[in-house]
C-alpha cells in the first residue's frame, strides 16, 4: 500500500514537472516548442488517410463534396414579382398584369416547401456538416462506408483523446484558471499605476495562453498591424465562448457582459479587480441608456483596453454571419472588426447553448483533436457622418463575412430562441398586395 502511494505520488510529480517544463514555461514567455505543430501534422496526415479510406467506398465522392457546402435543393432566388409574373404569362387569356390569380398559391406553397426541406437560418444554429468524417463521434449519415481499419484508428483515437489528452487538458485548464484568479487578485491589491496595468495584462495573457494550450489550439493571426488599440471597440463574429480565449491570446481586451454566479462569478470578480472590465447586473442590462453610457465612458478613456463585443448576440455555427445588433455601433469611437474562422476538421467549436451546457461543451472541446483557427484583423472602421447605426453595422458585418469566407445573412441570430417578428410577414403581404392591386395600397394600411 505504502509502495503504491509512493509510486502514485512519483507519477504525479513527473506529470506536473513535464507539464510545467513543456507547457507552462513556454506559455509564460509566449514561445512555442513545436510540439503542437508536430501533433497537428500527424493529425492532418491521419485524417487525410481516413478520408481516402472512407471515400473509396463512395461511387461518386465529388457529389458528396458539393452537397455539404451549398444547399440541397435548387432554388430560384428571383423576387416575388418575377415569379408571380411568370405564373401569369403561362395563361394565354389576356389579363392585365395585376389582379389575383388562383395559381398564385403555387408560389407561396413552393416557397414554403423549400423552407421545410432546407432553410438558411435554422441550419446555422446546429453544427456544421462536414465533408469528411474527422474520426470524432459526430457520426453523420453521410459517412456510411467505414472499414475495419478506420474503425481501429477511431478506437485508438478515442483512447488518446480520453485517456491522454483529456487529463492533460483538464490539468492545464485548472492551472490556467487558478493562475488568473490568484494573479488577478494579487495584482488588484497594487495601487493604480503603469506597473499595475502591465502586470495585469501579463496575468491575463499567460492565463489565455495556458487555456489555449488546454484546447490544443493552433491559431493563426493575420494582419497584426490592425490589432485593436486602446480606446476602441473590437467586434467579431461569435461561435462560442472560446472566441474570447482565442482573441485574448494575442492582446488584452476589456470584457462586456453580465455578472454571473458560480465559478464564472469568481473569475469575473478577480478580473475586474486587476483591470477595468464592464460587468452589468442583470437588471442593468435592460437599461439601454445606462449600458451605452458606461460603454461610451470606457471607450473614450484612451488608457483603457479596447472593448470586445460580439454584436450577433448569440453563437452561430461559424458558417455565416448574422445580423449585427446596432447597439455597439451607436457608441461611437473606432471599430476594429475581427473575423474568426475555425477549421471544423479537428473539432467542432460551435456552442449550441440550447443543447449543451457549458461543462459538456468544454468536455467535448477537450476531447476533440485540436482547435485550429484563423483570425483576421481588419482595418479599423468608423461611422460616416450621415450614416445611421444600422447601416454601419451592416457595413462592418459584410467586411467580416467577406474576410472570413462566411455567408452573410440579414436574419437576426435571436431567432435561435424567439419567433420571427410579424413585421416580416407583413412585408411579404404588402409585396403581394402591390402585385395584385398596384402601388396604391397605402391608404387602407394607414387606417388600420
Amino acid at each position: 500500500m505504502e509502495d503504491f502511494r509512493i509510486v502514485a505520488s512519483n507519477i504525479f510529480t513527473v506529470w506536473l514537472t513535464l507539464i510545467f517544463v513543456l507547457i507552462l514555461l513556454p506559455s509564460i514567455f509566449g514561445i512555442s516548442l513545436g510540439i503542437s505543430e508536430g501533433y497537428m501534422k500527424i493529425l492532418v496526415k491521419t485524417l487525410e488517410w481516413a478520408t481516402l479510406r472512407i471515400q473509396k467506398g463512395f461511387e461518386d465522392r465529388k457529389k458528396l463534396r458539393v452537397s455539404a457546402s451549398n444547399g440541397i435543393i435548387q432554388r430560384d432566388e428571383s423576387p416575388m414579382e418575377t415569379e408571380i409574373g411568370g405564373l401569369r404569362q403561362s395563361r394565354s387569356q389576356c389579363l392585365q398584369r395585376g389582379d389575383f390569380e388562383m395559381a398564385d398559391v403555387f408560389y407561396f406553397s413552393k416557397k414554403g416547401f423549400e423552407a421545410i426541406v432546407d432553410d438558411e437560418v435554422t441550419q446555422r444554429f446546429s453544427s456544421e456538416e462536414l465533408i469528411s468524417w474527422n474520426l470524432l463521434t459526430r457520426t453523420n449519415y453521410n459517412f456510411h462506408h467505414v472499414s475495419w481499419r478506420v474503425t481501429l484508428i477511431w478506437v485508438i483515437g478515442v483512447f488518446i483523446r480520453y485517456c491522454i489528452l483529456l487529463p492533460l487538458r483538464v490539468t492545464l485548464a485548472t492551472i490556467g484558471i487558478s493562475w488568473l484568479v490568484i494573479g488577478a487578485t494579487l495584482v488588484g491589491q497594487l495601487p493604480n499605476s503603469r506597473v499595475k496595468s502591465w502586470l495585469s495584462e501579463l496575468v491575463h495573457l499567460v492565463c489565455c495562453r495556458i487555456c489555449a494550450r488546454a484546447l490544443s489550439s493552433a491559431i493563426q493571426y493575420h494582419n497584426k498591424e490592425n490589432r485593436p488599440k486602446k480606446g476602441g471597440i473590437c467586434v467579431a463574429n461569435h461561435t462560442s465562448p472560446i472566441d474570447i480565449i482565442i482573441l485574448a491570446n494575442d492582446g488584452c481586451y476589456a470584457m462586456v457582459g453580465q455578472v454571473h454566479g458560480g465559478l464564472m462569478g469568481v473569475i469575473q470578480r478577480a478580473m475586474a479587480r486587476a483591470c477595468p472590465h464592464v460587468w452589468f447586473e442583470r437588471s442593468e442590462m435592460r437599461d439601454r441608456h445606462l449600458v451605452t453610457k458606461r460603454l461610451r465612458e470606457h471607450v473614450f478613456d484612451t488608457t483603457k483596453l479596447p472593448i470586445l463585443i460580439f454584436p450577433e448576440g448569440t453563437c452561430i455555427n461559424n458558417t455565416s454571419v448574422m445580423m449585427f445588433k446596432k447597439g455597439s455601433f451607436e457608441i461611437g469611437g473606432t471599430i476594429y472588426p475581427v473575423a474568426i474562422k475555425y477549421d471544423p476538421q479537428f473539432g467542432d467549436a460551435f456552442w449550441n447553448s440550447s443543447k449543451n451546457n457549458m461543462v459538456s461543451y468544454l468536455l467535448r472541446m477537450m476531447t476533440s483533436w485540436a482547435l485550429k483557427c484563423n483570425v483576421w484583423y481588419l482595418p479599423p472602421m468608423t461611422r460616416e457622418e450621415d450614416e445611421d447605426a444600422v447601416h454601419f453595422a451592416n457595413r462592418v458585418k459584410s467586411a467580416i463575412a467577406k474576410r472570413g469566407g462566411l455567408v452573410e445573412l440579414s436574419w437576426d441570430g435571436g431567432l435561435k430562441r424567439d419567433r420571427v417578428k410579424d413585421y416580416f410577414k407583413q412585408e411579404q403581404q404588402k409585396n403581394y398586395s402591390k402585385i395584385i392591386v398596384g402601388e396604391n395600397i397605402s391608404s387602407f394600411a394607414s387606417e388600420n
Binding site: 435548387q74 403555387f106 421545410i116 449519415y141 462506408h145 431567432l415 394600411a445
Partner: protein, 244 residues
C-alpha cells in the same frame, strides 16, 4: 455528446424485416450488396419509431426502382431524414406545428399556416417521418419516364392532378371539396394582410369565382379549379428539384 456510432457488419435487422415485408408484396429482392456495412447512430429510445420508418422507407424506396431508375436517391432520403430529426426539437420522432413554425422562412410565408396544416391529418397534432415524406412527395418533380408510363396501379402523389389537388386544399378550408366565396376571401386575407380593403378584396373574390364557376353554384369545385389552371405549368411551378 452523442454516443459513438455502432458499426454493424453486413445484414441488419431493420432491412431484414423490411425486405420480408416487401417480398410478401411480390417485389423482387432489392439490391443491398453495394451497401456493405452501415454505421447507425444510436438515438434516444423515443426516436426508434422514426428510425424504423426511416430504414423501411429507405429500403422500400430503393427497391421500388422497377424501371431501374430510383424515384428518390439514397442520399436524398437520408438528407430529408436528418432534416426531419433536426426540426424535431422535442426529440420524440414526430413533428408538431410548433416545430414547423420555428423555421423563420416558413413563419413569414403568408400561407405558412395552411402549408403546415397540409402535413397533419385531421384531428392529429403530430406527424411522423412517413407522413412528412408523403406530403413532401407532392413536390417531387415528374420524371420524363413517369410521364409516358401509363399509371396502372395508384396515381403517384406528384402527378399533375395531385399537385393541383394539393393547391386546391390550401383554399378549401372546410374540406367540403368546394371553394366558397368565404373561403377564398379568408385565404386572400392571409395573403394580403391589412393592405387591401374588404370591398376591394370582395370584388376580387367575386370576379375569381365568376370566372371559374361553370355550374352556377357560386363556388369552385375541383374540376372547375383544374379547368382554370389548365394552361399553367403546374409540373414546374409545384416541384422542388434536388441538386444531387
Amino acid at each position: 455528446m452523442g454516443r459513438p456510432g455502432i458499426i454493424l457488419p453486413g445484414k441488419y435487422t431493420w432491412e431484414r424485416t423490411c425486405r420480408s415485408r416487401l417480398m410478401s408484396h411480390g417485389n423482387t429482392e432489392p439490391e443491398y450488396t453495394q451497401y456493405g456495412s452501415l454505421a447507425l447512430t444510436v438515438h434516444k429510445p423515443q426516436r426508434k419509431e422514426a428510425d424504423k420508418d426511416f430504414w423501411c422507407l429507405r429500403s422500400s424506396l430503393l427497391a421500388s426502382g422497377q424501371s431501374r431508375r430510383r424515384l428518390i436517391s439514397h442520399s436524398q432520403i437520408t438528407r430529408l431524414y436528418s432534416r426531419f430529426t433536426s426540426l424535431d426539437k422535442g426529440e420524440n420522432g414526430t413533428l408538431s406545428r410548433e416545430d414547423f413554425q420555428r423555421i423563420p422562412e416558413l413563419a413569414i410565408n403568408p400561407l405558412g399556416d395552411r402549408i403546415i396544416n397540409a402535413f397533419f391529418i385531421e384531428g392529429e397534432d403530430q406527424v411522423n417521418f412517413r407522413g412528412f415524406m408523403r406530403t413532401l412527395a407532392h413536390f417531387r418533380p415528374i420524371e420524363d419516364n413517369e410521364k409516358s408510363k401509363d399509371v396502372s396501379n395508384s396515381e403517384p402523389l406528384n402527378s399533375r392532378n395531385n399537385k393541383l389537388l394539393f393547391a386546391f386544399r390550401l383554399y378549401d378550408l372546410d374540406k367540403d371539396d368546394k371553394i366558397s366565396r368565404d373561403e377564398l376571401l379568408q385565404v386572400l386575407r392571409m395573403m394580403v394582410g391589412v393592405n387591401i380593403s374588404d370591398d376591394q378584396l370582395g370584388s376580387i373574390a367575386d370576379r375569381t369565382i365568376q370566372e371559374a364557376d361553370q355550374d352556377g353554384d357560386s363556388a369552385i369545385s375541383f374540376s372547375e379549379f383544374v379547368k382554370v389552371l389548365e394552361k399553367v405549368d403546374v409540373e414546374q411551378k409545384m416541384s422542388i428539384r434536388f441538386l444531387h
